[in-house]
Structure formats: structure tokens, C-alpha cells
Symmetry: C2
Amino acid sequence: MPAEELPSRPPVLLRLPVFALSRLGQTARAGAKAAFDREGLSWRAHVVLLCLHEHGDLSQRDLAGLISMDPSDLVRLLDEMQRAGHLRRRPDPRDRRRYVVSITADGTDALHQGERIMDRATDEVLAPLTPDERETLNALVLRALDISR
Amino acid sequence: MPAEELPSRPPVLLRLPVFALSRLGQTARAGAKAAFDREGLSWRAHVVLLCLHEHGDLSQRDLAGLISMDPSDLVRLLDEMQRAGHLRRRPDPRDRRRYVVSITADGTDALHQGERIMDRATDEVLAPLTPDERETLNALVLRALDISR
DNA sequence: CCTATATCAGATCGACTGACATCT
DNA sequence: CAGATGTCAGTCTATCTGATATAG
């Protein structure tokens, strides 16, 4: 329970919870993106690698669902990642409409590298908060997301 | 509606705090935007009206700073709002480079209408949370923003 | 026949950049 | 003169739509 000197009132806009949430979301995303850019990696690619590592091989449609990206946009991201040698696309023998997307050894390397970057970026974004506060924030964010989709 | 037994672990991506924050920010922004769209209003315009109501007359540059919008982009937003009769731009007699932006009576009406819309949108976004939790979330978000900008 | 998958082309929107006229 | 202000034009990115070929 940090004895916070409450700033009598935050600036107008930040008194709007949706505005504050939107703004923090932007800074979080921008911070992560910048951190990955600095190392010549893509944070969107990292998200894909994480899913592949966790769920194993996936179809493009399932992948798109997991990361809430439009399937048609995912195509181009996967193109880049394939060109970088971080994943493989192979036709699914059980359903010839689908491709089986799987992570490669190079992709796994990039994943580990990305995890370090992500950890540092998270630390920067949440720097003003204590570990307890970070945990509380995270729990509340997850609860808020459960219904608001 | 599957009765969610709390998944002992949240899906991969949501275990990344920056990802979860980014996602919640997106849904919050999208929810607000949709709510305003439905009523034929703009949530970005509402943010401007709020600032004008709180701070009184402002230059475009000061406005841009308050809402963290690029001044050159603000020009077009103000054009629309002026066309809608929600604000006035008048040359500043004390500094002829500047315009004094001020809210009109119609703008004040739109502000009040927007406040109702915003309240409902906020309720939707934070629906899964109790009032106490909402307050905690808000305080933590503000604290996180204080340094991470 | 209707649906699902992956793909492509294009529209749209918000954020950002660079240049410029006017004024301090 | 350098710097600030409002403006315009253009780029870039992410997101979203619509159409299509192929397969279930």
C-alpha cells in the first residue's frame, strides 16, 4: 500500500478511464515495438513465434484467431517470417486448403532473443510500479478483457 | 457462452503484460469509438471539447499538446468541428500567429451528450470489474503513465 | 451448392514528416 | 536572424473490405 501523495486531480483526459487505458496501451505497444526495432526484430513476429512455440503447429486461420489479426494481413507477416527462415509453411495432408505453419530452429532462436527484449520492454513500461502493483494491474487487465473480448 | 472456469493460466499472449495492456487499450478505444459513431459523434472531437471546457480558450498548439495529437493532424479535426459549429477559431490579438480556439454553445451541448456516451462506453469496457477494482485499475494505470509518458 | 482457407488488391484511418507562409 | 504557429501535402503503418482460386 504505497502512501501515494495523490495529485489533487489528474489532467482532464486521464480522468477518463478509457482514455487512460487507451493511452497506456499505446505507450506499451510503442515501447515494445521500439525495443524490438532497435534489435532488428519485429514484435508482431515475436507474438507469432510465441504462439507457435506454445501451441505447436497451427493453420494460418487458427494463428490469426489467436493473435486477433486479420487472416489476410497475417499472410504478409508470415511471408516475411518465412523469408527470414523463422517458420515453415507446408501443405496440410489432412486438409489441402490449409497450410501447417511451424517454427524453425532459427525461429526458436529469435523467440528466445525476443523474450529478453520483451522482458526489458515490460520493465520499462511498468517501471513506475512495484512488483505487487504490476501483478495487481495485470490481474485486473485480464479480468477486464475476459468479457470486453 | 461457455461458463469459463478460470483457466489456471491465461492464453500465452495475455501472459505478456504489454500485450494484454495493448489489447485492453485497443478494445477500450474501439468501444468508445463505436459508441460515439453509433450516435453520429466523434470521440476524438469529444476529447477536444473536454479540454476546451476544462481549460477555457486554447491555442491549437496547446490543444495538440494536451491531447498528444500532432498539431498538423489537429488542424483537420478542428476544421470538421468548426464546420459542425462546435467551436470557433479567432485570431489571437496578442499573438497574431495564433488562433484562439473556443467552444460554442452547440459544442457544449455535444460535450454533455458525449459525456453520457462516454460513461456508458466506460461501463461496457469495465463491465467485468467491481467499482473497487475499477478504481484500483485506474490508479495503477495513471501511476504507470506518470513516468512511461 | 455452400462453406472454409489462403491469397491478393484496394480502401481507409491514424500517426508521422517535410515544407512553407506568417509572425514574434 | 532564429524560433514559434498554423497549414498543407505526402508517406507509412495497421486495419479492414471485397474478390478469387482451391478444396472440403
